[in-house]
Symmetry: C2
Subunit: 527 residues, 2 copies
């Protein structure tokens, strides 16, 4: 595919008149071709209007047809796996194997949502039939189901140029719900974004969907994103990125004349609680796995374990020594952008001023603007509790070990935590059973609790929760990964006393779609 550098406005492309920016190869700092053009205010307005127009058709496209569209997108991604991964590799310096894997994850995600909307029961259909003879008043016939919200603005994330970007989970779940999507492309991988957008646009046309079902705007700054979130025809926002940017979008969405749902996934320290039995078992392996997890993707995962609590127990010293050795021996990393690298250097320098730096890898000399070294900090429990900001995320390959007297201290540590995406416990069943109270506290602090695993690696399935209390996300009632992510973009509508001819298929007596429904609150018997 040829890259042109302009926005996607349904069946045509944007102008090449806006502010110019270029992607950079983080591995060597070189500019990549072509030049990209920020969308202007008219193009923002045009994209949203196209989406609003498309919504009037797309909202009534059947689940089966939406599934066909999503599968076509998935097939197109797979067919261009190599090309997509190569461009993403240039723009992110992430390894090719990771990126080809990420294409597969992205297409699988599209297929998961395809299967959800094709099956159709996700709409939560409920029927309370009329009771004309009820005393003192008859009951009308009441039926409800979920309907799509409207045009959704999706912000591409930098750290997963495919799976959390143009055709990522936000886009897939919004399209599945019946909402047109307007993507604000992340400026760190505009070429990858353009390639993916071209594939989705082709799929929109091939499925004869309205052109505004999918649009995408480029911008190097915040103008386009701000204008999108403030646009009166936008119904919801989905974002993955930093706390500062996410909170700014939340505030914009809440301050609108008509506030709209704004799901932001922002920042998480992903605390790990090491119990004595885990140290006894194999301290060296534990160190190796932890190192692998916090440096995976150069530490640029939302679920990077950034705080690790370790008790004074047999094996603790060996674990610590091994972890230090791994950090010291590691090569340097290329972060995704110069901005991320600057923030990492600032964040780790600030942390080093407050807690001891236990180990760090050396940096290549001369080092590029995106280079970063692995860093291991160490603090004691009281310091963490007194300075809870130590549990906050630094985006990059660092982690903070917190030395605790005993695992009994964990309860106090857990109570001091803010909201996180995940919390992890490592230990055998006996150890875990004696920490039930800790698990109870962590359940209030994180959206996903893991036992004997590491939080990086977010499975895309029906039971996944990738969410959590603020500041990990804007609203703990939702997830941005997994089948349940669709619920961010739908609202219930109740139909009272509707004749069969006017009811959506999902609510008709004959249940033509054969979906699971509730009748008077109980599962309707099949048939």
């Amino acid at each position: 595919m040829n890259l042109t550098g302009t926005s996607f406005l349904g069946s045509h492309r944007g102008t090449a008149t806006g502010t110019v920016f270029r992607a950079k190869n983080p591995a060597n700092g070189e500019d990549l071709q072509p030049a990209y053009h920020a969308a202007g205010p008219e193009e923002v307005d045009q994209a949203v209007k196209l989406a609003a127009e498309a919504f009037q058709v797309y909202r009534n496209v059947s689940g089966k047809a939406r599934a066909g569209f999503l599968r076509r997108c998935a097939d197109a991604l797979d067919a261009h796996k190599q090309e997509l991964a190569e461009r993403a590799h240039l723009e992110t310096a992430l390894p090719m194997a990771r990126l080809t894997g990420e294409v597969g994850r992205t297409s699988n995600q599209l297929r998961l949502f395809a299967s959800v909307v094709e099956e159709g029961s996700w709409v939560n259909a409920r029927i309370d039939p009329a009771l004309p003879d009820r005393q003192p008043l008859p009951r009308p016939d009441l039926r409800s189901m979920l309907r799509p919200l409207g045009p959704v603005v999706v912000f591409g994330a930098s750290n997963f140029p495919l799976a959390f970007s143009v055709a990522g989970g936000d886009t897939a779940s919004a399209l599945a719900a019946g909402c047109p999507v307007i993507v604000k492309a992340h400026p760190a991988h505009p070429g990858t974004s353009e390639l993916v957008a071209a594939l989705i646009t082709e799929a929109v046309a091939a499925e004869s969907l309205p052109p505004g079902t999918f649009t995408m705007l480029f911008d190097a700054g915040i103008e386009v994103g701000t204008a999108l979130v403030k646009h009166p025809m936008v119904a919801a926002v989905a974002f993955t990125g930093s706390l500062n940017a996410g909170r700014a979008l939340m505030d914009l969405a809440a301050a609108r004349p008509q506030p709209i749902p704004c799901f932001t996934e922002m920042s998480s320290g992903n605390p790990v609680f090491v119990l004595p039995s885990a140290l006894r078992k194999s301290p060296a392996e534990l160190a190796k796995n932890l190192f692998g997890s916090f440096t995976l993707g150069a530490g640029q995962f939302c679920t990077k374990p950034g705080v690790v609590l370790v008790p004074e127990a047999p094996g603790a010293q060996a674990f610590f020594d091994e972890l230090k050795a791994l950090v010291e021996q590691s090569a340097s990393f290329d972060l995704l952008t110069e901005g991320i690298a600057r923030t990492y250097r600032r964040g780790t320098a600030q942390r080093a001023a407050r807690v001891p730096l236990a180990a760090s890898s050396s940096m290549p000399t001369p080092h590029g603007e995106t280079a970063a070294n692995a860093q291991l900090f160490a603090a004691c429990l009281d310091q963490l509790i007194e300075e809870p900001e130590l549990a906050e995320e630094i985006f990059g390959p660092d982690t903070l070990l917190v030395h605790c007297g005993t695992a009994e201290d964990y309860l106090r540590a857990a109570q001091s935590l803010q909201g996180h995406l995940t919390a992890t416990l490592l230990g055998d069943e006996d150890d875990l059973l004696s920490h039930r109270a800790l698990i109870q506290v962590l359940e209030q602090k994180a959206g996903r609790l893991l036992i004997n695993g590491f939080p990086t690696g977010v499975e895309v399935g029906h039971a996944m929760v990738h969410g959590g209390p603020y500041p990990s996300t804007s609203d703990p009632r939702f997830t941005s990964v997994g089948a349940q992510a669709i619920y961010r973009f739908a609202k219930p509508v109740c139909y009272q006393n509707f004749p069969q001819s006017l009811l959506p298929a999902e609510l008709q007596d004959s249940n033509p779609l054969g979906i699971r429904r509730l009748r008077e609150g109980r599962a309707e018997s099949a048939g």
Copy 2:
């Protein structure tokens, strides 16, 4: 029961030192005994801390035990029906029959949520079992379910002193979800509030629940409510009331260091679209039913039909004449508070300056401070579209007839609407079928669509939606009435690789609670 005029702080009562206020009988303007005392800042903090403490226990109380508690509350309300209705009658001037009925509605609501949490499937349990041999990576065991959010602040509403107040739907659904409730009592019916709070407090003790499971604070102003919404230990807010107050709470909740969900149900014009066939059938009966609906509860229903579109068609004149006659002949009404009456007088005076007042009932002379007369305004379609604020709610016994050339104009009218709780169509099936496009638009404007009924009368069931786009509520994805109201106060938590011994009962392999669950996204077979 004796009324003491002080707040409820778990197992003890608040002090009688705060600002004093008294309820007023709207029928005669007389102060009612006893004096009520606003809670001070320490009491606010105490109530929230008690709730936060109680949450650590109450969140793990089984659905069955929560159901027992809710049923005990319901039984207590029923046992005190007469006493509650009598006090509420003094404080609201609403008819006794309506108020005894409202006690029954309130206890039924508690029983509905009891049945929901006793049955238990509402938690949306999902199981994706481990796939240890999956390539390229094994899948961990993932299970998720809904867990309670934390302490919920409930603002009692003035217009339903029982069903939307201390033990109303917000309280019932939050307690059902496993969240302690802190009620900010509405100052218009403090005695009714105190009676109900005493019954709930007794039920808390009788069920051996932690005292902070339920607390209630009095205030005549906004200090207590503001402090509650800003309190860091509060997890969510539920409110029914005016647009101004609701939006202020939304803004407060969004501006917190840690923003929290704030469900506000605020303002709705509840448009009614009269199709020609409805006029042909029985214009006089239509007028009578509409009059009954917009003056029910003196027009102080969230679902009062405030905008009625009528085409130029046979029967239209008869309908209009009959409606005018009904309005002119009606007696005056007592509104709930002097403040509501002032707002009604101001709102109707402002409307009368812009559109013709077609009819009004006369006021008694001399009239009390809460007196209001029924008013019927009339405008033409173009005026409604040019001045969309004409569709906004005036809280009281008025409505606005909008004369349209033909029912074909309805599409344009519907497109100009903001968000409403309900939208209604009146007409025969042929007429309705020819207005499918109108129904499609209305689905985007309201949470409940009614055919051939009137919107007042909100059934409390499994399929009800009492919600809608802003400004009718803060978030169209939720409802504040019906079984689904519980979803405002719960969040999903995912358990990864948990041993059976540490999983909640809802997620254990043996399904000891026998609830409906999804396994790999499909309904688990019974057994």
